[in-house]
């Protein structure tokens, strides 16, 4: 054992006053350290000691927090929110590796062909797809239980959106660093990404988690094809110009407002996926 619980922390623990995450560290340490358990017994009265043992006993089964979850808790995120964030269905290794692979291939293609538009067209679609898949029956095995749970559906959606957006934007950001030759243009995916994600969510409340993102993704691709037909080979496409970026920002804000207005819909009815209602 390389460390022991400090006297002050042990006294606070004995009085039930030690706050997380120090409390959890102490709980974990006490399970394996006979010295500290003996010190705890000397520090406290029997009743408080029983309560401590009960708490310790409960901690033995506590879910093992991953690195990200521990980090979130240390940053002040409530433990239950951190668990919901890290349990987001899309944030699995397979999904993350797929996204990473797609981005690497795209970055390589951009460098070979000298066409940043390839990356700028793809990057906004990844957070849209991730968010769409994170809330709905297609990838969430516990969706049915979540729908009938008292937790507000919109809150759950926002928690998962934050998780997926953070991961998606971080990946896109890393990919951007691999495109140093294009200056600020290499960041022109950011506002369209936010606009597409917000619009996809706002429409999900009305059209469900399959039709809405498919519609938004399709509209984005159509817009790019039309923009491409209007310019010469190496000109910047309209969505990535200053005017296009302003329009994306406006769409993002408007869609966010519409999404907020429709927030109660996420509780009133399921978000699709049960077209036959399970008529068994």
């Amino acid at each position: 054992m390389t460390w022991h619980v400090a006297d002050e922390d042990l006294r606070a623990y004995a009085h039930g006053e030690l706050a997380p995450p120090l409390l959890w560290s102490a709980d974990t340490h006490l399970t394996g350290c006979a010295t500290c358990r003996a010190r705890l017994a000397d520090t406290t009265d029997p009743v408080a000691l029983d309560a401590g043992w009960e708490r310790l006993d409960a901690e033995l089964d506590a879910p093992r927090q991953g690195l990200l979850e521990r980090l979130l808790v240390r940053l002040g995120v409530a433990d239950h929110t951190a668990r919901l964030l890290t349990a987001t269905p899309v944030l699995r290794r397979s999904w993350l590796l797929s996204v990473l692979f797609l981005l690497v291939m795209t970055v390589l293609a951009v460098r070979v062909a000298d066409r940043p538009a390839l990356f700028l067209a793809l990057a906004p679609l990844l957070p849209l797809a991730g968010v769409a898949l994170s809330y709905g029956p297609s990838l969430d095995p516990t969706y049915e239980m979540a729908v009938v749970a008292p937790v507000h559906g919109f809150r759950l959606l926002m928690i998962r959106t934050v998780a997926v957006l953070t991961a998606g934007l971080a990946f896109n950001g890393l990919a951007t660093l691999a495109l140093p030759g294009y200056g600020l243009l290499a960041l022109a995916w950011l506002l369209p990404a936010l606009a597409l994600t917000a619009t996809g969510l706002a429409l999900t409340a009305r059209l469900g988690p399959v039709v809405a993102p498919a519609l938004v993704g399709g509209a984005w691709v159509t817009l790019l094809v039309v923009a491409k037909s209007q310019v010469h080979a190496h000109d910047t496409l309209a969505p990535f110009t200053a005017a296009g970026q302003s329009a994306a920002a406006a769409v993002a804000v408007l869609a966010a407002l519409l999404l907020y207005q429709a927030r109660d819909r996420f509780d009133a009815r399921p978000m699709g996926g049960f077209a036959n209602g399970g008529t068994a």
Binding site: P20, R55, A58, E59, D61, A62, P63, R64, A78, D79, H80, R83, L84, A87, P89, D140, P141, T142, Y143, E144, M145, A146, V147, V148, A149, P150, V151, L156, D264, D267, A268, R269, P270, F274, A275, N276, G277, G278, T279, A280
Partner: protein, 298 residues
Amino acid sequence: MTTAPTASTGPTGPATLTATDLALRFGGTRALDGVSLRLTRGVTGLLGPNGAGKTTLLRVLATAVPPDGGEFTALGHDPGTASGRLALRRTLGYLPQTPGFQPEFTAFEFVDYVAILKELTDRGARHREVRRVLEAVDLSQVRGTRIKRLSGGMRQRVALAAALVDDPGFLVLDEPTVGLDPEQRMRFRELIAQAGEGRTVLLSTHQTEDVAMLCHRVVVLAQGRVRFEGTPAELTARAAGRVWSSTERDPNALAGWRTGTGSFRNIGDPPTGAELLEPTLEDGYLLALDGENTEVAA
């Protein structure tokens, strides 16, 4: 050694759930077609063949999907309003037909996750509750085992534990005994019988054995309509004088099958002089499915 739970046939008490004319359509299919029913405390069985609308009815009553028409109240809450829906969800335990698991979670982690969805935010209290429900379904020993390593019966018990989190007053169980071997099924029936004490439990099944052993009331659903509502004894009594034995299958019988003794068991309108047999719950159920008219026993 497990013992068979026995169904309560005592007084049914005041209604805890009342549904009137529930309707739900999917495309051209009427999944629910004017379903009215009344539940009381204890276990009520919902019997019906595949496609009868059982799962749809359970999903409506569990607030997973709103009905197109009709209304219901459960435990005094009206899910037609946002506040009523929230209040009902706070006292609801739901075991879906195919409970989804995060396979990499342990049993404890999964139930803990559902407890978070049920708004148990205090870590210590939540973990104590998770331990309690896992103990209630006799899974304390495997609480740290990953769900993907558990047997089908154990997974169903994990799902039941999740449904029991926060001591719900209304428990909706969708075919929980499907796919279990006889011993597991018997164990699960014991757990449901325990869960039914003091709670309103609606148990969907297509096994009359489940109803006979567990339920104090039974609802038969077919083609989205209630065909029978009453006690299991009343459903059995419907078949009195309508079950007979013959050496060959009677072509006029509604249904007939060869039994282990070699003779045929027929149900329907017996011919004059037929050798009548003691009816079973299954006979009553088959007759209820065949009947065009709804019958609601007192």
